[in-house]
Amino acid sequence: MTELFEFPLYQRAILATLIIGFVNGYTSAFVLLHRSPLKLTALSHSLLPGVAISAWIFSLGVLSAFFGAVIAAIIIGVLTVLLSRITKISDDTVLAVLYTGAFAVGIMVLQLIGSYQDLEAWLLGNILGLSDLDLWMSFGVGIIAVTMLSLFRRAVVINLYDPEVAASLGIRTRLLDYASFAILILVLVTTLQAVGCILAIGMIVTPAAIVRPYVSTPETLFPISALVGALGSTLGLMLSITLGQPAGASIAATLAGLFILSVVFRTVLPK
């Protein structure tokens, strides 16, 4: 397996996986404490039409993809609240209707702009095909996400624990929610390029779930999830190369396998 490190293509992919895995792992602690993985699944699918339309108008880049993704997420978010209020149907149901609808529109836009052949890359990602710019963008987004979540972790944790107590302690909870939302979208957009919008959820949810049975404080959950995200994802990539399997699928499957192992060990090991 060591020969993998000699090929520049694999070196780049391993570096990208380490960075994206670390950032997703760190962010996964937030997602776990926020209890929002299903909403995040909806969000990741909702981003597709935004990214596709943005690519159509401005040509594809991480920046244009980000703004397209933000606009799509805001439209879906606002429509969900609005339609749920008007119809009295639960927001989960409305969100499920809208995200599948948005995803479908995204597929049609890709067909319209002649990028339908890229659909597989959108859905499943292409971590072996990342450019230097993509890698730098992942690195930049990672630094922003990890720095922001670390700097404001005290407020973030109180807000996740009990938003009303947070507000009474003087924390600007609404601003914090919006900032966290923006960070999640940034991380999702860079992950989307690597492993696609479906498997991205595995990277941004699973690491903290693997770690959770063994930690008792948020202060340990964040950094250990980041390490597990980086190492688990890289293990998945190396297995994919060795076994000739798609990288994104192998990463997501490895993380899921580690989660099962983690639960089994926790059950067997004395507390």
Binding site: R153, L160, Y161, L169, G170
Partner: protein
């Protein structure tokens, strides 16, 4: 700590949720050393008043002053204690960390958690007798222990005013007695306690003062006098047909 000259003044306070009036005509003064019960039927405006005082609702009408300044300038001195069990279940956090949250108004995000903060946190843990369970997860505690943890957080915050939302709800008799003793100790050390309360029989045992609400202020004064008023009896007992069944 003695803050007896520190006074809370409300004048003409009203609140509307959209077009629905939740509260009007609230005028009273309370000072440190008092224990004030907020009484009234469901929907009377008790929670609205607590949330206004805690800064969770934006003030619409009237004035709320603490130590002769707008209450919005005194967030650090006012602690809000929600009902136990309303925080997120299975959140990985220890008792000590919940108490340490009280230091946030002093530190913000960027200041280091220093010696003073450690000392205040440990002092609050010791005052509320939480030393032997300080490293336990908050979800492993009973309702009474959680309530003590929240009071310790308010002490770590160095708050003068403690706002408690139905603090006796869901507690067993022993925990109720302990909580009652803790509230008395807190006012003896100079805090002002304001708590919404349902158990009418125990009002005069626990509280020094009472404010009766029914979407407007019905009565305010010393607990013993308020509870004897005919208007108050009519407001409260008409909504508590089985009040006599519930003892402290």
């Amino acid at each position: 700590m003695s803050h007896e000259h520190h006074q809370l003044n409300l004048s003409g306070v009203a609140y509307h949720y959209g077009v629905k009036e939740a509260l009007r005509g609230v005028d009273f003064s309370a000072h440190c050393g008092q224990r004030l019960a907020l009484l009234g039927p469901n929907g009377a405006g008790k929670s609205t008043l607590i949330r206004l005082l805690a800064g969770l609702l934006k003030q619409q009408t009237g004035t709320i002053q603490w130590r002769e300044n707008s209450i919005t300038k005194a967030r650090r001195e006012i602690a809000y204690l929600p009902q136990v069990d309303r925080h997120q279940r299975h959140f990985p956090i220890r008792v000590r960390d919940v108490v340490a949250m009280g230091r946030f108004p002093h530190l913000g995000n960027l200041k280091r958690f220093g010696k003073v903060d450690h000392a205040k946190t440990e002092e609050a843990i010791a005052t509320m007798n939480l030393g032997n369970i300080a490293n336990r997860q908050i979800d492993q505690l009973s309702g009474g222990q959680q309530q003590r943890t929240f009071i310790a957080r308010a002490l770590a915050q160095e708050a003068h005013v403690l706002l408690l939302d139905e603090p006796f709800n869901g507690l067993d008799i022993e925990s109720r007695c302990h909580l009652s003793d803790s509230l008395i100790d807190l006012t003896n050390s100079g805090h002002l306690i304001i708590a919404s309360h349902h158990q009418l029989e125990s009002v005069t045992q626990i509280f020094t003062h009472a404010l009766v609400l029914d979407q407007k202020q019905v009565a305010f004064g010393k607990a013993t006098e308020v509870m004897e008023s005919d208007a108050v009896k009519q407001t409260l007992h008409s909504c508590h047909p089985h009040a006599h069944d519930r003892a402290l």
